[in-house]
């Protein structure tokens, strides 16, 4: 009985730990989008120049129609958006938000919406990313392939 309880407890601990690891170790791809967007019949124009800093990293500068991608790890991160003037000299507006992607994977942040102080600035990530070149796979029963031992081919 005691061992049953201990085993169940251990299992629960491992499960919780796994969920925890999943939670804190999850990498989120954050797309920063600075495109004109239609929302509820309104059109939000792309910002002229915006500087975005995610999770305290070096800021990224986006021009209109730019879309950039970076990766953050962990359940939450700080976002600092500085809307700049056309020439990237003066900060017109600073927005700071804390985002909690939690268990979700990727997200896209719309700069125009953010600049408009709307709360629906988190968009689903774009689909169909560029594929790496295909490598063909053939099954093999060669359990023991000698490293670099293939002889030269014609």
């Amino acid at each position: 009985m005691r061992s049953f309880i201990e085993r169940v407890a251990a299992l629960v601990v491992i499960l919780i730990a796994s969920v925890g690891l999943f939670y804190i170790g999850r990498e989120h791809k954050v797309f920063l989008d600075n495109k004109t967007i239609e929302m509820e019949g309104q059109s939000f124009r792309a910002l002229k120049f915006v500087r975005v800093s995610v999770a305290g990293k070096d800021p990224i500068e986006l021009m209109p129609r730019d879309r950039d991608l970076l990766a953050v790890v962990g359940p939450s991160f700080k976002l600092k958006v500085e809307v700049m003037d056309e020439f990237g000299e003066d900060v017109e507006k600073t927005i700071e938000r804390e985002l909690k992607p939690g268990f979700d994977k990727d997200m896209m942040l719309s700069m125009p919406l953010l600049a408009a102080d709307r709360d629906d600035y988190i968009l689903p990530p774009p689909t169909g990313p560029a594929r790496p070149p295909e490598n063909d796979v053939k099954p093999t029963d060669e359990l023991v392939i000698p490293l670099d031992a293939a002889p030269p081919t014609d």
């Binding site: 005691r2 061992s3 201990e6 085993r7 251990a10």
Partner: protein, 533 residues
């Protein structure tokens, strides 16, 4: 109830496949009492112990009759571990020790003292570490009880044989609840002094209240040690006597062991044919057969005679024919009709027209997976080049197996030896023990030997087949004048079929007697006593 017996057997009986091996065995044993159990090989001692210990072989062959009471309660053990649980310990003939472990580790094998571990509930108690200090103390205490001086750290493989026996016993002593200890031939591997120490230790154990069943072939020892003696013969108790009150002689016990009342004793054969020439001469032969070591034997067999070799198991009687046939490393001189035979080379023995029926039917005697006719003719084909026929043009260069002739030969033996089978094509493994033995005989006959060596011809076969096999041997001897050497553990069988019987003890010939001599004489030779020829 202090007077209640610790162990009580009531009417124990057992049959193996219609063969009765035990009948109506009853005796009891009190605390602190030492009971000596003696009997010939095959008298039923091992079966009795197997029953007592709940060995699986008993249940799988139909259980046993009668009942066993331990400490007043009826018991029926399912496995030897059940017997251990109530406090019956067993010391086996063959060592069950781990060679690379120390004395302490072996004494406490699977009963190790453990430190408590936080992980033991999570996984198994087996993840706890060993408490070696406590283990060593306990082991040392057990060894001390025996009165010997063996270091607890000594590795088993580096110990002399005698010490190993003490470790085995110490293991049983260490079990806190051991109340009955069974020892099977514990002194067989010990020197005189070691035996003495052991016997004293056993006495001490008994005085501390442990009951002991002592199985031994050394009668003097048994008489010296035991309070009570039970003699088994043919699965029955023939004698149960207290030792201390009466003056028993080894000779008396031996006669109980082998003696049979005259009326059920088949007539001994014992033709005297010593006038003929000598067929086989063996001088100072030694044979390196595991468990049946032959140290130094010399004897001569007359032409046309049936010569018996008897003796207790492990004394070397089986080593003699196996050595002559070259199956085990051997030395000394063996001459067949005056011609020396090269030892250690089966082909040499076969070439000089000797044939052999092995005691190990399934291991040596048969090609279990092959056809009957192959089994019978294989040796003749290999040694004498028979059963081969030439291919029409290539006759000289390519000779093929003559399957028709092989089958024909087999049919002949199937008929004459009454082998029960579906035909010469049946595989040997599918036959019963008796029929397999007949095939082994047929294989030997097929060689048309001058000298036939037969080991344990009736081992493991039923009564009817026994008669037939022995009859065949006698007939073959009479018809062809073939000299035959029969090796058997069953003295009666030897006396019935042989002219003279040699008894082998401790690797050499204890004596050769005409088969007509009374069985007690042979029994005394087996027990290692001297007798006038």
């Amino acid at each position: 109830m202090p007077d209640m017996p610790l162990l009580k057997l009531e009417n124990i009986g057992k049959e193996y496949f219609g063969n009765r091996v035990l009948a109506d065995v009853s005796f009891s044993l009190k605390r602190g009492e030492i009971l000596g159990l003696v009997g010939e090989n095959g008298a039923g001692k091992s079966t009795l112990m197997n029953i007592l210990f709940g060995m699986p072989v008993i249940a799988s062959t139909g259980g046993y009759e009668g009942s066993i009471f331990f400490d007043g309660e009826k018991v029926n053990f399912k496995s030897p571990f059940d017997a251990l649980d109530v406090g019956i310990g067993m010391v086996h003939q063959e060592f069950s020790l781990i060679p690379g472990f120390s004395a302490a580790e072996n004494i406490l094998l699977n009963r190790e003292v453990l430190n408590r571990s936080v992980l033991e509930n999570l996984f198994t108690p087996r993840v706890s570490t060993l408490d070696r200090a406590t283990m060593n103390t306990r082991a040392a205490r057990a060894i001390e009880t025996l009165g010997v001086d063996i270091g607890v750290d000594t590795i088993i493989s580096e110990m002399p044989v005698g010490y190993k026996q003490f470790i085995e016993i110490a293991r049983e002593i260490d079990r806190a609840k051991t109340r009955l200890l069974v020892l099977d031939e514990p002194t067989a591997v010990l020197t005189e002094t070691e035996s003495q120490i052991l016997l004293e230790a056993l006495r001490k154990l008994a005085d501390s209240g442990i009951a002991i069943i002592f199985i031994s072939h050394r009668l003097q020892e048994t008489i010296g040690l035991c309070d009570k003696l039970v003699v088994l013969r043919d699965g029955r108790i023939v004698k149960e006597v207290p030792v201390k009150d009466t003056e028993l002689s080894a000779r008396e016990i031996a006669s109980w062991m082998v003696g049979r009342s005259v009326d059920n004793n088949p007539a001994a054969r014992g033709r005297s044919s010593s006038t003929g020439e000598t067929a086989l001469e063996v001088e100072h032969m030694w044979v390196d057969m595991p468990g049946e070591t032959v140290r130094d034997v010399s004897f001569a067999v007359h032409k046309g005679e049936i010569f018996g070799i008897g003796g207790l198991a492990g004394q070397g009687k089986l080593g003699i024919p196996n050595g002559i046939m070259g199956l085990f490393p051997a030395g000394g001189v063996v001459k067949l009709f005056g011609k020396p035979i090269e030892l250690g080379e089966p082909r040499a023995a076969l070439d000089s027209k000797m044939a052999f029926v092995s005691e190990d039917r399934r291991g040596v005697g048969l090609l279990l997976g092959e056809r009957i006719d192959w089994n019978i003719t294989f040796t003749a084909m290999q040694v004498q080049g028979r059963f081969l026929k030439g291919v029409p043009i290539l006759g000289k260069f390519l000779r093929l197996r003559d399957d028709a002739a092989i089958a024909e030969e087999a049919r002949g033996y199937i008929k004459s030896l009454e082998i029960k089978c579906t035909g010469p094509g049946q595989r040997a493994v599918e036959l019963s023990g008796g029929n397999q033995q007949k095939i082994c005989l047929a294989k030997a006959f097929c060689l048309k030997p001058d000298l036939l060596l037969v080991c344990e011809p009736t081992r493991g076969i039923d009564v009817g087949a026994k008669e037939l096999v022995l009859g065949t041997l006698r007939r073959y001897n009479e018809e062809y004048g073939t000299t035959i050497i029969v090796t058997s553990s069953e003295l009666e069988e030897l006396r019935a079929v042989c002219d003279r019987v040699a008894i082998v003890g401790r690797g050499s010939v204890a004596g050769i007697l005409p088969a007509t001599r009374p069985p007690e004489d042979f029994g005394i030779l087996m027990m290692g006593e001297k007798i006038d020829a």
